[in-house]
Structure formats: C-alpha cells, structure tokens
C-alpha cells in the first residue's frame, strides 16, 4: 500500500506542488488516526533527508468505509472555493484511489498545533494570557467561516436539515416525552431567534486546539475535516472550541466536566473570557447574542451525536449530560 502510494507521489510530484530538488527517498510516519470501527489512518510523508513533512495523507483502513473520505474531500473543496476561507485550508488537496482505498493527500502543516501552547501547569494565573490569545486565534477562522458560508433555507428545509435529524437521534437515548418536547422547543427557539430568516452554516465538527495549526507566518490552518457538516448552526464551532479547550487544561478543579460546567454557569475568570469571546464573535459576524444563547446547549448535544456515530453510546453520554445540565441551568449562562 505505501509502496503504491510512494510511486504515485513520485509520478505526481509537480501536480502536488512539491518542492523541486528532492534529496532522499520518501518515508512515511503513521500518526494518530482513529482506532474504532470507522477508523482512519494518517501518514505524514517526509523526504527522509528533510526535517519537516511534505504531505499529509489520510485514508480509511477499510475500503468499505471509503464514502467518508469522499465526503470529507467534497466538503473541503466547497470551502476551498471561497477565497476568504481557502487560506485556512492545507491546500492543495487531492483525492485519489490507491489499492482500492480512497485517499486524501494534502499539504502538511509546518507550524505548531495550538494545543502545544497549552501549559501542563495547574496554576491558571500563569496561563491567562495564552488562553485569551488562543481564544482570539480561534475566532480568526470561525468568524469568516460562519459569516461567508451562510445558506438561507425556508422553514420546512431548515427542519429537514437540522430539527428532524436531531430529534431522531435523541430517540437513541430513550428520552421521556417531556424531554423530547423540550428539545423540540429549543430548536424552535433557534428558528425564532433567526427572525423568520432561517439559515444554516457549515460546521467543522471538531474545531479544537488539536486541529488548529499556527503556521510560522502566524496564519491559522484548520485540519481534520472528518466530522464536518455542510448544514449546521452558527456558534457551534466556537462553543465547542471553548468547551474542549477548558476541558483539556490541567487547572483546577481536576474534574474536567465540572470545570466546563463552572466556566459556563459560574462566575469565574473563564466565564468572563467566554462572555468577551462570544460578544466579539457576534460583533464580527453580525449575529445576535440571543441566537447564541439559543444554540448554546445544542453544541453539547451535537457533539454527543458525533461521538455516538464514531464511538457508540457510552462516550457520547458525557456530552449528553452537559446538554441536560445546560438546559436545566440556562438562566445561569455566563453570556
């Protein structure tokens, strides 16, 4: 498999806009990837004489799951078609077929992942500037992404794209009738806050510090579009970024889920930063903060849905718990 890939890369060197004057053989570095059933495998491709990777290659381990790679490629192509957004993608991206596998080949990022700036210290005091700076960096992409790819839908299409799939997914958790009605009312609330002009935006689906590269020229590159959705809601990626970031920190309280709850529903330094960030997002996108409040609990819900699709019910339950908590405490939300 890697031999065939290597031959392909040799034969398509120029098409992939790779640097001329290669010094050594190609060498493959298997990096991370998912372990579960729908698992992907990723490789960084190196010229073995060079210290930085040339390409990033991803494929499904099983040929039968190829559709997911095709979907990811199609989404990235649509985003790349917008000049304002193309700068955030690791272009060029190619989609090829090797030994029966659909393969995405993209430029390798050369900066550092945002997550590497995350301190392992348990003292928040020394990390405040970095956290604030990283929240600002996260806005750099998510603002144009939500601003330039809005797609207006009539009420029926909105329900078909957003409301119905979410209600249908909720049934996997066997909720009571009152809980079902509550979710339906949250979704109606979102439509209402859109002021009769329903719209959808795409969402990355896993917009976290792990998937954001800060390039040497300080540009942001967003990778890992595996869970991207073409029709989703604004605010979602921003909320998820903040939740996941606060969850990943090593600061107290040690219970990560409690830390997230206290950040959104308490009155601590994080709450203040979240408020500032959401206000800034609204200012830059022109979206109403009331819409943000309506969408907020759904980011936990949609993350539970994504987790459920990949890893099953148990891992998704933790996000579902946050959804329940956020609905029950909506009056205490920090923004």
């Amino acid at each position: 498999m890697l031999l065939e890939l290597s031959t392909y890369l040799d034969n398509h060197w120029d098409m992939l806009e790779l640097p001329q004057g290669r010094d050594g053989n190609l060498s493959f570095f298997k990096v991370a990837g998912n372990s579960w059933e729908e698992g992907r495998i990723n490789f960084l491709v190196f010229d073995e004489k060079k210290c930085e990777p040339l390409l990033f290659v991803k494929m499904m381990r099983e040929e039968s799951k190829n559709a997911s790679i095709k979907r990811e490629y199609a989404t990235m192509q649509k985003i790349a078609a917008r000049d304002e957004l193309a700068v955030f993608l690791p272009l060029p991206i190619e989609h090829i077929k090797i030994a029966g596998h659909d393969v995405i080949i993209q430029r390798a990022c050369h900066g550092r992942r945002l997550i590497t700036s995350m301190s392992r210290s348990s003292f928040l005091y020394f990390q405040k500037d970095t956290v604030r700076d990283n929240f600002k960096k996260a806005l750099k992409f998510v603002v144009p992404f939500n601003k330039y790819m809005k797609n207006s839908l009539d009420a029926a299409s909105f329900r078909e794209a957003i409301t119905e799939p979410l209600l249908s997914f909720y049934s996997s958790f066997e909720p009571s009738d009152s809980k079902k009605a509550r979710l339906a009312s949250i979704l109606e609330g979102v439509e209402k806050e859109m002021g009769g002009k329903s719209f959808v935006v795409p969402a990355h689906g896993d917009y976290s510090a792990t998937n954001i590269f800060v390039e040497p020229d300080d540009r942001i590159t967003v990778i890992d579009w595996e869970t991207a959705m073409e029709e989703s809601l604004p605010f979602l990626d921003l909320f998820y970024f903040m939740s996941k970031y606060i969850h990943n920190l090593k600061v107290r309280p040690k219970d990560r889920w409690r830390r997230v709850r206290e950040a959104y529903f308490g009155n601590n330094w994080f709450s203040e930063l979240i408020r500032e960030t959401v206000q800034e997002y609204c200012r830059l996108t022109g979206l109403d903060i009331e819409l943000g409040r309506a969408v907020f609990p759904l980011h936990f819900f949609i993350k539970a849905k994504i987790k459920y699709g990949m890893k099953g019910k148990a891992p998704s339950q933790l996000w579902m718990n946050l959804f329940e908590f956020s609905v029950n405490n909506s009056d205490r939300c920090c923004f």
Binding site: I41, F46, K49, P53, R61, I115
Partner: protein, 319 residues
C-alpha cells in the same frame, strides 16, 4: 483444524468461564460481544475487547501485502491482525495454541464474513506446515513467549530455531513481521513490567533474571526479549535480509505512531512535535539519545520486517 490437545494455558479466564462466554456471544454482532465483555467482571477481558480496534494492525501498512498473498499469523490470538490482514490478502492461516482464542476468532470470522481465514490449533514450535507456502508470516507479541513453549531448552536457542523454521515456511522473498519489545526500552527501566509481571527483569543479566523469577514466580525466566542489535543479529543468522526496524509508540499493541528507525529526521520531528507535549522526561532523555545517535537502543517497542534471503543473495562460504 486441531493439532494439539486442548491443554494449553487459558490465561486469566478458565475453561468453564469460556464455555459460559461462548454460549453468550455465539450469534451476536461484534458490538454486542464488546458490550457483553464490558459488562463482565473478568480479569483479562480487555485483550478481547481491544482486539476489535483496527489500529492494532497499522504496522501491516508497512508490509507489501497484495490481494494475491498468503499469510501465516503465528499466535493469532483473538484475531487483532488476522481480521484486518484478511481484508487485504488472498488467505490467512491463523495459528494459536489456545483453543478458546481460536473459537473467539471463529465467531469474529463469521461476523466479518471473512471466508479466507483458516484457524489452526497448533503450537508455534510444531507447525503443521513443512513447505515454503507463505508470502508473509506475522508474529505479533508472540516471539518472546517461544521460550515458555519449548520444554527445558535455552529460550534464546528456541527463538533462533523458530526463526530458521519460519524462514523455511516463507516463499522466496517472503517477509517476516515481528512486533515485540526492546529489552532495554526506556519504559522497562521505570514504569512497565516485563512479561513475567515483574519489574526490571528484562534489563537484568539472564542469570539474575532467572534467580529473581525463581524467587517470585517459582520458575525459570523464559520470556526473552532482546536489544536492537541482538534482534538484527538473530535475523541475519537465520537467513533474513533487508531487515527494517520501525518504532511503535506508545507500544506495538496500540501503535499510535510508527516510523522507520532509519528515518532519523522523523524521530527528531516526532520528538519536537509529539513527545515534547506528552512527557518532559521522555523528551529530554530521547533528545540526549538522539544527539548521540543511540535512540534505537532505548525505544521501547519495535516492529521488525525482514525478507527471506533468496538463493542468489546468500553469501557463499569463504566470501
């Protein structure tokens, strides 16, 4: 197909418990089997749950397997490598000495509709094959146990003899795949136990490891792992060529990162971009090791691929 009495160790799970497990999981889907095992209070269950994780076989991407190849998986266990490799080759012969593992594999085989797998109940030391039939032979976490299966002899000698036998079963230019620990891997100095469940025995001189094992486990130390150089020498002596070492991190059972030891630039990249954020101790240790060019002696897990020497490649005596 069985060439052994059902007497080999069942590990932490008894015969009786296995019968109960099989009556529960027969006819169930992979997801249901995992849910059932998760619900059981059972020591040793994780090896069976984790066998469903496809990434365990990621090292196989570095082997040139084609859909026309025949593969022998020695010590296949519940099929961590057997099932993924079956999707890419013509046929897999899966050998294990523990019947329960093969019955478990049989259920997985049915669920995956992998008709090209033949489970064989046999010992790795008495294989029911004599001819060079295979394009690839896999030994994933097995080679270190060979000493336990051969009665009384020196484990190192048994391992050498297995390598020679293995070579004889490979077709011309066939490849051997071994996933195994490095005897002197950094992890075994301070945090990981050896195969005998004791700390530090792998890095001790063999006689001391023997005494330690006699004291704590009441038997000789038989699960030999070796250093980078020792594996290389054993493979060369057994008649293999084109020996490639790959580093598998954090270990070969769950290899999140794999790259060739010869690609030292990748090691540097890995050090700066992955180890640095994961463990400061590992980062500084391997940074120093890299500086002196000795990191291969301390990486804890290897995936080794080696090609059977063809007749034309053999060095004639006297040369």
């Amino acid at each position: 197909m069985s060439f052994l009495p059902d007497s080999y160790s069942y590990g932490n799970i008894s015969h009786e418990k296995w019968e109960e497990i099989f009556s529960e999981i027969s006819g169930k889907t992979n997801e249901e089997i995992q849910e059932y095992l998760l619900s059981q209070k059972l020591k040793g269950k994780w090896a069976y749950i984790k066998t469903f994780r496809n990434n365990k076989a990621d090292g196989l991407f570095f082997l040139p397997i084609t859909d026309n190849d025949v593969v022998l998986d020695i010590g296949c266990g519940p099929g961590s490598l057997t099932i993924p490799v079956a999707r890419t080759c013509r046929h897999v012969y899966a050998v294990d000495a523990t019947l329960a593992r093969l019955r478990f594999l049989e259920i997985r085989k049915r669920n995956e509709k992998a008709e090209n797998i033949t489970p064989i109940h046999a010992s790795a030391l008495a294989m029911p094959f004599k001819e060079p039939l295979f394009d690839h032979i896999l030994m994933n976490g097995v080679f270190e146990y060979m000493g336990e299966w051969g009665s009384g002899n020196d484990p190192g000698e048994i391992q050498k003899s297995v390598l020679r036998e293995t070579k004889n079963l490979l077709k011309e230019k066939g490849t051997l795949f071994i996933a195994i620990e490095n005897r002197f891997g950094l992890d075994f100095f301070y945090k990981e136990r050896d195969h005998n469940k004791l700390y530090l025995t792998s890095i001790m001189p063999r006689f001391l490891a023997n005494i330690t094992n006699m004291i704590f486990n009441k038997k000789r130390y038989l699960t030999y792992t070796h250093s980078f150089n020792a594996y290389n020498k054993m493979l060369l002596e057994a008649g293999f060529t084109k020996i490639n070492f790959f580093y598998a991190w954090p270990d070969y059972r769950d290899p999140r990162y794999i790259f060739a030891h010869s690609s030292r630039n990748i090691f540097k990249y890995y050090l700066e971009n992955f180890i640095k954020t994961a463990s400061k101790f590992n980062y500084y240790f391997f940074k120093m090791a890299y500086k002196f060019g000795i990191e291969r002696f301390f990486v804890s897990h290897f995936i080794i691929t080696a090609r059977k020497q063809s007749n034309s490649e053999k060095i004639k005596p006297g040369n």
